[in-house]
Amino acid sequence: MLEILQERRNATLLTALFLVCFVLMSFSARRRGGTTVFEEIALGISGPLVETAAAPKRWMSDIWNSYIALRGLREENDQLLSELASLRGISVRAQELQSRVKRLEELLGGVPGKKDGFRLAQIVGRNQSPYGKILIIDQGRINGIRRNMPVLHQKGIVGRIFRAGQTVSQVLLITDSRNSVDVIVQRTREQGVFSISARNEGEVRYIPADADVKEGDLLISSGLGGIFPKGLPVARVLIASGKGKQLFQKVRATPTVNFNKLEEVLIVLATLKDNPWK
């Protein structure tokens, strides 16, 4: 038997390739949404490699940020001090409002406050190929990262945890066609769903034809869907057309986050109770 296999080595190798790949594809197609054992192993192996590869780039970035980019710091410092002074006033007002909200919540029967923690993660790899828009971060299951946890940036929503490995995880960006976010227009509270269209453009679907939406409107997460917390910036409206003509308007929007310039992200360590999709 072995001799025959040796004689027909090429045919054996090709048959094995087809067999293994078709088994993997069937397994993967059936278990979509979960992580297979093969994926776990490969993510574990590739993780340290990607982390090591990202190290020189991170060192260069540190040098740049610590020394070279410090020119013009005095002007920036003066500007920041004046901004701080005005923000102090706003902060006092915000504290007052926060305590008022707390009192009202207690009056309404005790709405529990969110106890989510955050974890800062460095981006160690990217894969924005035609097959998917994925970031690789240096935090994994040992850091408490779990599937579907929201991933944020100071400018808005980045995506969600797609696969959590032992030491590294994958983030599925909101620009991936497999992702969508339920949003509301901040100004008018109109509701829609933000996703990436087939033409690689951000679009907001299901905005009624008579809704008041215009260029520059900020879209924030609605909190529906169970993954992203409410009130976070998602995108900004570029064009809203087709008012009154069809059932829904055609709204194009661009994400508030520039995914090419991301270096760090924030992961919301939502509890199981808060996150039913986990």
């Binding site: 190798l13 397994f27 093969f38 160690v124 998917g132 066609s177």
Partner: protein
């Protein structure tokens, strides 16, 4: 030593794909397929069996890193590694035009096969127009980069493992 070099070349492709291709994105809004280029190189240098094995493992890693259908890239790249190895062994002159054509055809094959497999195993997801636009850019980039990448790796291999120079496959260790 030669085998070790090929392992490093494959690891380099993984690192390149996940870390440095973002710079291409900034300039051209497209990314090359470094895993495919590494598979082609190893196929060209080592023949069909090594091409198949390398293509399979690099494709598998690409499937995992992109979060796509597991096994689709491994099948496509495994086949391409095998075919390239078998084809190029019988071609004496490997000039730049030939390598660019090889880069074009193999990337085209990779893109079409991935779409077919995706439609076969995940018909409900469909294939977006975006996929074809991105893939077109990748095909162009790979066509341009294939001759450079293969020649550059050949030069590096010649410097690191001079004993492998001029020895045709399959007599190379």
């Amino acid at each position: 030593m030669t085998v070790l070099f090929y392992i490093f070349a494959a690891a380099g492709a993984i690192v390149f794909q996940t870390t440095f291709t973002e710079y291409f994105f900034v300039w051209t809004t497209a990314r090359p397929d470094a895993m495919l280029l590494a598979t082609l190189y190893i196929g060209v240098r080592r023949g069909p069996e090594s091409g198949l094995v390398t293509g399979f493992f690099l494709g598998l890693l690409q499937d995992i890193l992109s979060g796509g259908l597991l096994g689709s890239n491994s099948l496509s790249k495994g086949l391409l590694g095998y075919l390239t190895g078998g084809l190029v062994r019988n071609i004496a002159r490997r000039n730049w035009f030939f390598l660019a054509t090889l880069g074009f055809l193999t990337t085209l094959f990779d893109v079409v096969l991935w779409a077919l497999l995706s439609l076969l195993f995940q018909p409900e997801l469909g294939i977006s127009t975006n996929y074809w636009f991105d893939s077109l850019k990748t095909i162009i980039l790979n066509t341009v980069l294939a001759p450079f990448a293969i020649h550059l790796l050949s030069i590096i291999e010649g410097r690191i493992v001079p004993s492998s120079l001029g020895i045709p496959y399959p007599n190379r260790s």
